[in-house]
């Protein structure tokens, strides 16, 4: 599959003052452990429902995506938290990131442009 070989980038609003994030920081934001950026600003992680999602989590945590799903299922069962909002594709993610200053998402590296800030490269 072409997507399996793809390189992913984690992106944020171009006005975001954060220069970069570590994989762990990204992981904490996407798995609901952290709700803010290191600078204290509120973070809104945006997930995808595309095949890119499995690749993203595998590259980020080293665990299969099913485990991530099970994790969220447990958290959701308590009603205390919910997983990040899922968008259909890179285009929708790009659009949302451009429009929200606290947003953080991931897309294929090939789709990235100057309208967003790249915080992390996953390969």
């Amino acid at each position: 599959m072409p997507s399996a070989q793809a390189e992913l980038v984690v992106i944020a609003h171009f006005k975001n003052s954060i220069v970069g994030l570590t994989a762990k920081q990204v992981q904490d934001l996407f798995l609901g452990r952290e709700r803010t950026f290191p600078n204290g600003k509120f973070a809104l992680p945006i997930d995808q429902s595309s095949p890119l999602r499995a690749e993203f989590y595998e590259k980020l945590t080293g665990r299969p995506v099913e485990q991530i799903n099970a994790y969220w299922a447990r958290i959701m069962f308590t009603g205390q938290a919910s997983p990040p909002q899922q968008l259909p594709d890179d285009k929708a993610v790009l659009q949302t990131v451009r429009e929200n200053e606290g947003a953080i998402g991931y897309i294929d590296k090939t789709r990235v442009d100057n309208t967003v800030r790249v915080l992390l490269l996953l390969n």
């Binding site: 992981q27 945590t61 665990r63 308590t78 009603g79 205390q80």
Partner: protein, 542 residues
Amino acid sequence: MNTVKKRYLYQKLAQSVFWAALMLTVLTSVLYFFTEFKRSREKTVIMINQLLDTVENTAAIAAYSNNSNIGEDVLKGLLRNDIIHEARLSNSQGLQLKKERNTKVPKQDEIIRILRSPFGDAEAIGRLSITPEAQYNLLEARDSALFSALNSSLLIGLTALIVLLMVRSSLSRPLMKVSDTLHAIKAGEQERLEPPPQNQGDELGQLVEDINGLLEKLQEKFKAEHALREEVEIIEQQLRNIFETTSAGIFLLDEAGRLLTVNPTLSQVIEVPHLSQAELLGQDFPELAFAEPALMRELMRVAVERNQSVAQDLRLINHGGENTWVHCLLSRQTAGLNGLRFEGVVYDITDRMAAETSTRHEADHDSLTGLFRRQAAERELIKLINQRTDKENAPVLLLLDLDYFKEVNDTYGHDAGDRVLVEAANRFKNCIRTSDIVARLGGDEFLIILVNCAPPDYSRQIARDILVAISKPFQLSSTVSVKLGVSIGMTIQDGLEQTLEELYKAADLAMYEVKRQGKNGFAMISGDGSIVVEKVAINHPG
């Protein structure tokens, strides 16, 4: 016959077994409790670790996501297990959760599990710690110990019961039977024990055989002893007969001479028939019986000194009759252990003494006149001579010869002569003192010894008296009488050194001189050897 309650061996055994079993049970139970407690603790730790394995993932998620709901769920789940007393969950982001059971028991060591991030680099993000429930362990251990106690007491009890029954049936019962039989057997009887059939050849069987052997020996001993006793009884009876019927008096004295044992004859022998056997006991024997108690005491002393039998003739106290003599045999008792004892025998020897006396009398005295014979007179004279210690008390020797006796004998016969001799002897005796000695030397020769008659005048007076007495007529029958005379030779033993022969010789010389000068007179050799014959004027009727 034996009313004392019997204590059976197997009952004793049962008691011992019971107490031993009880102790053993308690001991094993306590031991079991502690080992079980330890085992339970270890088991609990393993189980808790397993539980931790089970919940670790979820707990890690709770810690990772800082989700107290999940954490609470985990802790609640853990607390549902009896083995957990307290569970705590904490993470690096400040989550602190704790659940505990409200039992009050000593705390045990916590079991801690470090929680690691479920994602990425397995970073330590929190910890889950559990305190095991000690109460659970205790209960577990107690139950186990109880079960063990029950189990072991049942087992031990059962074993003990079986052992008891075995002991009772195979040891106690047969032993009891043997014991009862043995109890009924009297020593020395023919009866024997019957060996129990099941115990042939074992210890009990051997015991019975040995007892039978002993009974056998006992019976033999009894028989032998019985025979011996009969023999002894016979001997004793014989000895008793001798003791009681003998004519000798038998006695036992203590150290001081008091009578301890007497035979019935003794009172007769020592001439106190009025005293019973019992009354004699305790009396002082020497004082009671003998005229000279000191002699008897001396005899006792000698018996001890020589340590052998001693004997002496002793005279009894004269109770108004004739003198009684007894022969007393005395020896120190050697068999007795309690102090000095004397055993002795006395028997009457009065008759023998009398016989002895008469024999001696016959030997010493002339059968016709009753005067001493020469030998006896000489014996007495020697005695007198030997007794002299000084010049006083000199004995005077008179040799007498009847004049004309031969003519009387020839004319009137021997009987007449004999009568003259007897009469002459009587007249001699009447002229002297009783202490003086008259002897017939043979034929018509006589000897007079004047004892203690130093003044010569005194002895001359006696000589004169004799001359006068003999000069009186001798009546041979109612119609016939004869006249005789006497020639007397005298000598005094005025020196101590004169022998019997010298005295005889001197007197003989004096008498010869009287005969030479016409008979019927007396003469005494004076110190210078001269002899003066004196005669007496006889002047009386008829």
